[in-house]
Amino acid sequence: MQELIEQFKEFFSLSALNILVMVVIVVAGFYALRKLLLLLKFSLISSRLDNSLVNFVLTAVKIVVYTLFVLHCMSMMGIAVTGFVSAISAVTLAIGLSIQNVIASVANGLMIVSTRPFKVNDFVDIDGISGTVQEVTLMHTILNTPDNKHVFVPNSKVFGSQITNYSTNDLRRLDVLYDVDYESDVEQVRKILLDYALSHPLVLKNPAPAVHYAASKDSSITFTLRVWVKNSDYWPVNWDLQEENFKNLVKGGVTIPFPQVTLSYRSDDKEAGK
């Protein structure tokens, strides 16, 4: 009996020592990983990466690092981890297949954040939807349309679509078309359009405004007035040029035509008509 007690004592003293070392490994490992992840967070933030990207990288690294550490600790304690690894792989595969659209959106979100075709506050057109970029999340790009609607465009659609960014360049060219009668004096029309463009305070003098004879249509001659404006002045100048130049053309005696069709009758048609 005494021998048995001694054996028990020896066993527990040895096991206690092992457990103590294991606790040291788990605690030290956990805190060391936490500090290293903190360092990673600081370095990612100070490298001026986008917050959504920082968030994604940190979360992904955290999950991988802690999972590996837990598996390592389990294997150290003598627990068979092969089954766990297989189970995790199967679950990951199942989740991956069922939410592949979500994953595609997240991946596209990361691509948008890293390639930066636009940034917050840029005015863009994505697949026919125009608006100011409010935020780029991992799943959606949020646009605020000019009529104040909040549109959530999935990142998978954003990345696969043609994107027009109106805010990249400071200046924009504004083309305004005018249709006038064939009887009009070309030089007079040119002068009226150009004079108003040059007198407009928001139209830039350099590059200079220009008027071009654009097309001879069925019922009218088309002139194009091309002016350069700042991005923010595009629409106000557009409305002004449309309205004021219409008034100026009418005042100058230039006729604005409407579609006309000239019909000619043959003599036998006339007789048949009788």
């Binding site: 070392v21 294991m22 030290a28 490992g29 060391a32 500090k35 290293l36 360092l39 600081f42 150290m76």
Partner: protein
């Protein structure tokens, strides 16, 4: 002592060493658990140095674009201020990341960004005439004062 203990010992030592190294590294980066305090201290230090380096007495001097050795002296001053600005920027960036809805901190971060940009231009001596140099310096003073006011408004 059993064999398992000796097998585990090197690993325990490894994790302990890693913990110590990571603690030292985190401390070395200068980040604290209170990034706003770090930012405030750095901005105030930056402002103090600015006042010391560009006092009203030397106003005439600072309006002259430095050349030769003066560039070196000015460069050292600017490097010293830049270090504080970088520290303030990083601390504010961490705070902004943790408190994404705090607009005031985002504004302060923008101001510090402008300060850093001006300091960079001054350190690289990119200004071709005294007028631009002068303008950049006065903007730097104004932006630093603004950063001080903004950070004090947040911390109080």
């Amino acid at each position: 002592m059993n064999q398992a203990f000796f097998d585990l010992l090197p690993e325990a030592i490894f994790w302990l060493v890693l913990l110590i190294v990571s603690i030292i590294l985190v401390k070395k980066t200068g980040f604290s658990k209170k990034p706003l305090n770090t930012a405030r201290n750095s901005i105030l230090s930056m402002n103090k140095k600015m006042d010391e380096f560009f006092t009203p007495d030397t106003e005439k001097k600072r309006f002259v674009k430095p050349t030769g050795l003066k560039v070196l002296a000015e460069g050292r001053k600017i490097t010293s201020i830049s270090k504080d600005a970088k520290k303030a920027h990083d601390a504010l960036a961490v705070f902004c990341y943790d408190n994404r809805l705090n607009k005031e901190s985002a504004e302060t971060l923008k101001t510090v960004d402008t300060v850093m940009d001006l300091l960079y231009k001054l350190s690289k001596n990119v200004f071709s005439n005294e007028k631009d140099y002068n303008k950049a310096l006065s903007s730097l003073m104004k932006e630093t004062d603004r950063a001080v006011k903004q950070i004090q408004d947040i911390v109080k």
